[in-house]
Amino acid sequence: MRDAKRVLLTALIGAAFLLLIDSFASGYHKYLIELMGIYAILTVSLGLTNGFTDVFSLGHVGFMAVGAYTASLLTFPLEKRPSYFPELPEILKGAYLPYPAALIVGGLLAAAIAFVIGFPVLRLRGHYLAVATLGFMAVVYSLLLNLEPITRGALGISGIPEYTNIWWIYLWLGLTIYVTWRIVDSYHGRAMIAIREDSIAAQSLGIDTFRYRLVAFVIGAFFAGVAGGLYAHLITLIDPRAFSFVLTFNIIIMLIVGGMYTISGAWLGAVLFTVLMQVLRPVEESTGLYGLVELIFSALLVAIMIYKPRGILEEELPALVRRWLKAGEGSKRS
């Protein structure tokens, strides 16, 4: 019951903030905040595998791409389809879904693919798993470039209806955080963390490591797919390059710098990344040193790995705030 109240309160405060932003922020700033929300969905859902379960996946962007293309095809105006996709397969010619349903179908397709490739890939460990998921990402990229009847190859799909707004993004971010939190803060999550800390010990306690890894992988993929759909209907133009290694690395950097063992860390990483990017881009442009931003981010990543390997937020934000408040009370009393 207390949880329900807290969730409701957080949601209300969040909605109030969004209302303020929606009515007062400039178009550009609103766009940044929207992008930040999509990054946050990606990092929080990636944290479920890379942070809470011992599955270091590099394939998240592949799932995002699946969601983005699926949702875009489903909402694409029917009358424009024959001229825009002349070779579209028969089934897709008339398949239309309203935007919210298209997002969910995109997510479900990503989750279904995660389920299928999870069987072979999740039996691998550590490095090998990282490479195999990177392989998945590369295969998706390669298919996007080459399945021209459906994806239009390198041209990409433009003219996607602009349905995504700040409310949709933050509604889904809220859902992502809520679902992740409910999973992590349950029997299920304890089992996942046990697998992360010592998979052999976890197994000996009767935890089915494979099943927990698969569940984390599939749920993470679902939200990545939804994030892809949101992204496509925000930018209105998608092409394979948007889902390349660059985005993969950026999401990994956000997650690790923010702190991949906490949910707050994951979204904090996305916030920091977007803010730093905005601060540093003008510096890069005025000095002409293109690549400076990436240079700084990568140096940050290495420094974090060496000095603070659990990221900036090692503890959940609410727990930290509570402790800080308690410490304040203590000092007042003395």
């Binding site: 550590g126 090998y128 195999a132 990994i252 690790i256």
Partner: protein, 297 residues
């Protein structure tokens, strides 16, 4: 129309590409063997090596001195990277080094982008490697022969190094069991330094060959070869020298023949095909063709 010369052309092309993958895979394999680190940054060492070579040329040196100098400088850089980025992480979780190496890759790529601009640079090939031999329809470039020959010579030299010299044997011992080798009086840090120097030197040489083959380099040049070499090493059995070389050739052949023999509309799938091979191999033999299964407890 598939003619005999076309097949032969593909054969040489695959041999050359496979050789370059093999050279990079050897470096990755050496480092993995000792540190259990999949060094993503290794691809960047190829690109940096090529830029070093161009740098020495523009300083007015001749090609014969520039190549060894660029290899030496590559070795120094490799050792420096290990010292600053990987050494502080030793003994930590396996994945933290993998993540760090991703960071090091991005760092190197963008450092070069800032210093040398993102524009591709023409890679000047020395005169004696520029020629082409022709036999009727069939032709082969001198740089292609040079690439294949230097790979085979280097492979033979490395096999001798690892079986006959004291340092080489010490390196294998360290790869086998780091703790036991330290107890036997092997200086692990020195061995790791040598491994990075050796691997980076070979990567710099590969950079020279790569630049020579394709005529230009840019800061992103190293990425795909790095990833492919990594696949080659895993397919062959990472940690095994013979496996890495074989993996390199398997990948080179698979890539060139799939592009050369499939209808042109599928040629864009070449990168996907490499990864498909990787996934299949990992499923059948999770430790690669020549790898040994090591159970971590």
């Amino acid at each position: 129309m598939v003619s005999a010369t076309y097949i032969l052309d593909l054969f040489i092309g695959s041999f050359v590409l496979g050789s370059m993958y093999a050279l990079l895979a050897i470096g990755m394999s050496i480092i993995y063997g000792i540190l259990r680190l999949i060094n993503f940054a290794h691809g960047a060492m190829l690109m940096v090596g090529a830029y070093f070579y161009i740098m020495f040329l523009t300083m007015g040196l001749d090609p014969i001195t520039s190549l060894p100098l660029s290899m030496a400088l590559g070795a120094v850089l490799g050792v420096a990277i290990d010292f600053f980025a990987y050494r502080p992480l030793r003994g930590g979780p396996e994945l933290s080094m993998l993540i760090t190496s991703l960071g090091v890759y991005i760092f190197l790529e963008n450092l070069v982008r800032i210093i040398a601009t993102p524009q591709p640079r023409v890679f000047p090939l020395p005169e004696f490697l520029k020629g082409v031999y022709r036999y009727g329809d069939f032709s082969v470039r001198v740089i292609e022969i040079f690439t294949i020959a230097s790979t085979l010579v280097l492979f033979a030299a490395l096999v001798l190094f690892f079986t006959k010299t004291k340092v080489g044997i010490a390196m294998r011992a360290t790869a086998d069991d780091l703790e036991a080798s330290v107890l036997m009086g092997i200086d692990a840090n020195r061995i790791i330094m040598i491994a990075f120097a050796l691997a980076s030197m070979v990567a710099a040489l590969t950079g020279f060959l790569w630049g020579g083959m394709y005529g230009q380099v840019d800061p992103t040049t190293g990425f795909m070869p790095g990833v492919k070499a990594f696949i080659a090493a895993v397919v062959g059995g990472i940690g095994s020298l013979t496996g890495s070389v074989l993996g390199g050739y398997i990948l080179g052949y698979a890539e060139i023949y799939s592009v050369g023999l499939l209808p042109p509309e599928y040629s864009g799938l070449r990168d996907g095909i490499s990864f498909l091979i990787l996934i299949i191999i990992l499923l059948i033999r999770p430790y690669g063709l020549f790898g040994r299964e090591v159970e971590r407890v």
